[in-house]
């Protein structure tokens, strides 16, 4: 039993580290995790689900805006990107945030092709992240079910 837990914990640790190493997450995610305590045991999950809902909504908005070929409202797209940038920055979704920074510049330059390309990348990226984090939560769940505690992962 203990060995199983230890193995899961090790797996979890490596997984988290890989997420940081591959640039999916940054320190802000650590910050987020540290905010989770007994008073709010599902804080990270809540914030993230809110974030991903936000992603769906914002990406949808932008896709619609960019569909209006010829009359694209770059301002609106820009506002959405800004939102997404703020959110991703707050949860520590590093790659999404990085894309958003580019996206915003393209938007300001009114570069339609660039925006479309960026939007697609954002779409892929947040979905990838969602899947990864889903895995992470599953691992956490498994650890808890196996009677262990989710380890604190020191990124440095």
């Amino acid at each position: 039993m203990d060995a199983h837990v230890a193995q899961l914990q090790m797996q979890y640790r490596n997984y988290i580290l890989s997420l940081y190493q591959q640039g999916f997450l940054d320190d802000q995610f650590t910050e987020l995790k540290s905010l989770q305590d007994d008073g709010s045991p599902d804080f990270v999950a809540e914030v993230l689900s809110l974030f991903f809902d936000d992603c769906v909504k914002l990406v949808g908005n932008m896709a619609r805006a960019l569909d209006q070929i010829g009359t694209v409202d770059f301002c609106q797209v820009g506002a959405n990107v800004h939102q997404l940038k703020g959110s991703s920055s707050s949860v520590g979704a590093k790659r999404v945030k990085g894309l958003c920074i580019n996206f915003k510049e393209l938007c300001e330059a009114k570069n339609y092709e660039g925006c479309v390309r960026c939007l697609q990348q954002v779409d892929i990226e947040y979905k990838t992240l969602k899947a990864k984090l889903q895995d992470m939560f599953n691992l956490e769940k498994q650890i808890v079910q196996a009677g262990g505690i989710v380890p604190q992962v020191d990124i440095n």
């Binding site: 905010l35 008073g39 809540e46 809110l50 506002a79 800004h82 703020g86 959110s87 707050s90």
Partner: protein, 912 residues
Amino acid sequence: MVCEMETDQQMEEMDVEVLSSMWPEDVGGTEPDNQFNVEKPAGDSDTLKEVDIAEKRTMADLKRLPDLLNTTDQGSTQLTNLVKQWEYMQDHAVRLLREELKILTKQREEAEAKELKIIEEHNFETEEPENVRVLDESSDLFRRFKEKKRDKLVGRKRIEIDEEFDTVAYWKQKALTFEKMLEASTERERRLIEKLNESLKTMESHSAPVEELTQNLKRAEGFLHFILQNAPIVMGHQDKDLRYLFIYNKFPTLREHDILGKTDVEIFHGGGVKESEDFKREVLEKGKASKREITFETDLFGSKTFLIYVEPVYNKAREKIGINYMGMEVTDQVRKREKMAKLREDNAVRKAMESELTKTIHITEETMRAKQMLATMSHEIRSPLSGVVGMAEILSTTKLDKEQRQLLNVMISSGDLVLQLINDILDLSKVESGVMKLEATKFRPREVVKHVLQTAAASLKKELTLEGNIADEVPILVVGDVLRIRQILTNLISNAIKFTHQGKVGIKLKVIPEPSFASDNTHKADAEEQNGLAETSVWICCDVYDTGIGIPENALPCLFKKYMQASADHARKYGGTGLGLAICKQLVELMGGQLTVTSQVNLGSTFTFILPYKVAASNDHSDDQDEFSDMVDHQPEPDDSTEGYFQFKPLLGSIYSNGGPVMGNNFLPHKAMLPSPVKLINGNTGQSESVQVENGGYMDDTRLETGSGHCPESAHQYENGNGRCPSKESESCSSSQASSEMESEFTVSSPREDVQTETEVKETSKQPKILLVEDNKINIMVAKSMMKQLGYTFDIANNGVEAITAINSSSYDLVLMDVCMPVLDGLKATRLIRSYEESGNWDAAVEAGVDIKVLENKQMSVRSTNRLPIIAMTANTLSESSEECYANGMDSFISKPVTLQKLKQCLQQYLH
């Protein structure tokens, strides 16, 4: 003959040994010492004929030459050489003659042999048969030899005689024949002798050496010319007066009579001539050949450098008679060499500079890193330390016995001291790295002075009088960075108090004309201009004087240096970090002013700083006065804004003699770091000049005084605990730390309280009210979680309009404002809020299109003058953006993403 002599002269110039190598190998002859061989290939002569030799190049004083040759060693050697050559020639000729003679002798011997034979033959003829027989018998060999001999000499010539043998006729004939042969032989002999004589004669003619030598010399000279014709060489001979006797010059510009018999100085004019002459003279005197490079700068041939070789010439009696010199033009080489040297020098210099720079860069980098490190470290230390001190202070409010309390007090004061030190270091590194920003706020200098003195008086534990004296012409309201000015004043005052044991400490303010150093020094406050401010600026001189121990003159220079105190002794006795004055100086200079000190040992010191301020418009003043009278109603107070003199008498007695729970010691050296800071109040109205010491707390003072407040118990405990605390052992320590603690407190809270001193009627809730203006749900969620951890709650506005609405309807202690928001962004919202604070109405907001419905709340507008701390939350941490925040009236900013740490610091700074 002329030619010969000239050549001789030239030869003299050159080393004979070297000369030999100059000859083509095939010309050199078979014998090594036979330099001037007669037998030369015709080809060489042809070569020479083709060469055009300008004989004029050589000039010589012919009359002197023979003398010279006879008197000098070189001349003798030269002649010896010639003689040797001649002798050799003679030898050669003798050898040839001998050979000839040998041949002739041989021939003569042959002839004699023949004669003998003839005679013998004759004898044989007479007695031939016997002889023959005998000989035949005795030896066959002899016969053969005889025949051979005869064959060889006479060539088997047989004499034929026709006559009958042994007749008269026969003999006669035979005699005749012999006679003829004899004659022929004689004839041959005579011819040979003739020939011999002839050859002897030719030999004689050859033996005269002069012509040959002349030829040789001519050839030698020819070769020399051939070799020298293009060489940039000048050579010459000068007598012991340095007059030219001979000169060879490839490019003659002067004629013979221009040079011969004259000295260099007589011939040339210009740079180098004298030097060369001196050099020649030197050689002549020292008698040692040497070389030197001399650059000439003459009209004749311009600027040219010559490598000159000079050797002394001696006569046979070893007396100096002159010099030989040879110069080669090396101008190009010298130029090249100089260029090279210069390049090398440049290179070296550059390298040195490079290494110097690298060193500097290295040092700078190191320093920067060290400073950065220091700042970071200080920062990192400060956070946990404030936790420690805070907890200790909370602990001090609980029930403790006397000993525990003493220990705790030491702990707190030590902690405070460390905190102060860290703050100092942070300040210092901020100023040094240029991070420190100056703010321009309106403030009343009188008020500032008064507050500083009050604060100092509050923690005063000595019999000192504190006084403030402000000249009438000092404006009521000026613009400057009140925070920093206050910091400087507090620092100087606490310093003064620290080193003064009796008498008084005071501040004197007066207006002075613009000092000289400022005219070429554009003060930085210019950048911080705000709307509605008058342009006129004024220089105010502020003296902080004391009657303390004074500073010895030799300690003055290092007074403002970091970590320096007047002496190590003082440091031990009085404590302190030694950073205070350094910070003061830096701050004053940052604001475009100057900090100076004068002092007399045992009489006191005066620190003087002069600073430029902008004078604010006077209408602001009247407004503010109205506010004052409106607000300060519960306690009649002298009008701060115009009063020019304050005095704080010692309160010591009352501190130790407990004056009751309320009237007693209110000068709390420590401030409790409770979530809701307890207000520190000087409720002592008995003092004629007493003023309320207000430090931005949230507790209603009346409640505290009556003891029926919201949390009376904790307040009382707090007071009581501190009332007894000042222990004598820790007097100096706690006095310094107490004042510094006060200072730091003002550092954070003064912008608000300098504008007005009234106590705001606060909500009774201990929780500070915070407004978060943020449009991003996720950010709100994260912030909420953080606030929860920090123990705060807050209201949320989703954009600038909502924020304004919220501020209008309720009062907040702090606003956290996102910069980039829909509808109305943070910068604009802040501007509108500030405008509301200044004008007391939302006109600007309405103008900007914000729909404000709740403007009916008129009594609230009074509070609008209270400056609300607004903290920007910006995703862009570039200084440009932060400057924008400041420009729009924000107090500080947090860079996004917001972390617990950043939020905590910010809240700590603005809520306590």
